[in-house]
């Protein structure tokens, strides 16, 4: 397996690390973090559209994984298991952030980010904001599916396994997500 960092990883090595991690080895888990943090971040950024929120979700996700690794029965399924945790954490965080924004809006303190922030990095920031807002319009499953598809090497079957649904359902979620995003991001297309 080739990780996003370009590093080649032997699945036997990963299984060995997972087994050691299950046995309580912090060193082994640290190694797993090092190996998978880029993939985790790719999924989270794909779902949240924002690197800061993604970093927060990834940190919280790894803690959940660390606390729960003892319950992972099949070490060979570590990646799917971890990405499921990351995706779920990212979704929780996204929805919580959405509720916070809505509350602030209601309170009358909401300022449009584009207008309110004096230092912007041009089109990239504008696109980032637009994508972030658009991702909030997707359902949880659509957001997960499109985020996981950001990892180009994952097949429909693997995404389905991570999401715990059928391959057909994954195709449907991706289709719907793209259709919504096409409308929401039309000015950038």
């Amino acid at each position: 397996m080739v990780l996003d960092s370009g590093q080649k990883v032997n699945s036997t090595d990963v299984e060995r690390l997972v087994k050691a991690g299950r046995g309580g080895s912090r060193e082994a888990f640290n190694e797993l973090v090092r190996l998978y943090q880029r993939r985790a971040m790719r999924v989270a950024v794909g779902m949240l559209g924002n690197v800061d929120d993604a970093a927060e979700a990834v940190q919280a996700g790894f803690v959940r994984a660390y606390l729960g690794i003892g319950k992972l029965k099949k070490p060979e399924q570590f990646e799917a298991w971890l990405l499921r945790i990351i995706a779920n954490t990212a979704i929780s965080q996204q929805r919580a952030a959405k509720r916070r924004t809505e509350k602030i809006k209601i309170a009358g303190y909401y300022k449009d980010k584009k207008a309110g922030s004096p230092v912007r990095n041009g089109i990239a920031d504008e696109l980032k904001d637009a994508i972030q807002r658009a991702m909030l319009k997707l359902s949880k499953k659509e957001a997960k599916a499109i985020g996981l598809f950001g990892l180009k090497d994952l097949s429909h079957r693997e995404v389905a396994e991570i999401m715990g649904c059928s391959v057909e359902a994954v195709r449907w979620y991706v289709f719907r997500a793209r259709r919504k995003l096409r409308v929401l991001l039309k000015e950038y297309l």
Partner: protein, 170 residues
């Protein structure tokens, strides 16, 4: 249409790659490591002071029952907490209201934390309800249950750290 779909994918890819290029991976690794240290410290505290935590667990369990009674769920008849009884606890927290349901399964101990309001969220872990009036079971391992809420009720623990609002130990 296909062309526009490809453009959507390209746009998402462009955004993700651009943002990931700015990530300080060593910094992120260090941040994760610090969070894991924190988790380790919590686990150590549980191991070091099991009696304290068991008493806290008893208080927490009593609080759960009390909340159930105050809120007045229609499932109160199912609440039976004898010494060492294993139970399934459904914790549902909706907009402006909360309800807690405790059911005795008799076979396995599970906690399901379900934060309602259309945004369902679930967490599971093993629990054992400890009866303060009975003898504490010294050979039992305590486990943390983190009941997280979308908004802090009592304290915000820092930037973007408002998830761990309420922590119960059983």
């Amino acid at each position: 249409m296909k062309d526009k779909e490809e453009k959507v994918d390209l746009l998402l890819e462009q955004n993700a790659s651009g943002q990931l290029a700015k990530v300080d991976w060593d910094g992120l690794n260090a941040a994760i490591s610090a969070r894991l240290d924190e988790a380790d410290r919590s686990k150590t505290a549980v191991r070091r002071y099991p009696t304290v935590f068991k008493v806290a667990a008893g208080i927490a369990a009593a609080a759960v029952v009390l909340i159930a009674v105050i809120i007045g769920t229609d499932k109160q008849a199912d609440v039976q907490l004898d010494s060492g009884r294993r139970a399934v606890v459904n914790f549902i927290d909706g907009k402006g209201s909360a309800s807690i349901e405790i059911k005795d399964t008799g076979v396995e101990s599970r906690v399901v934390v379900d934060i309602g309001g259309g945004e369902r969220k679930m967490a599971m872990c093993d629990i054992e309800i400890i009866d303060l009036n009975g003898e504490l079971k010294r050979d039992k391992q305590a486990a943390w249950i983190i009941i997280s809420r979308p908004e802090p009720m009592f304290a915000d623990n820092g930037v973007s750290r408002d998830m761990s609002d309420m922590i119960c130990l059983f």
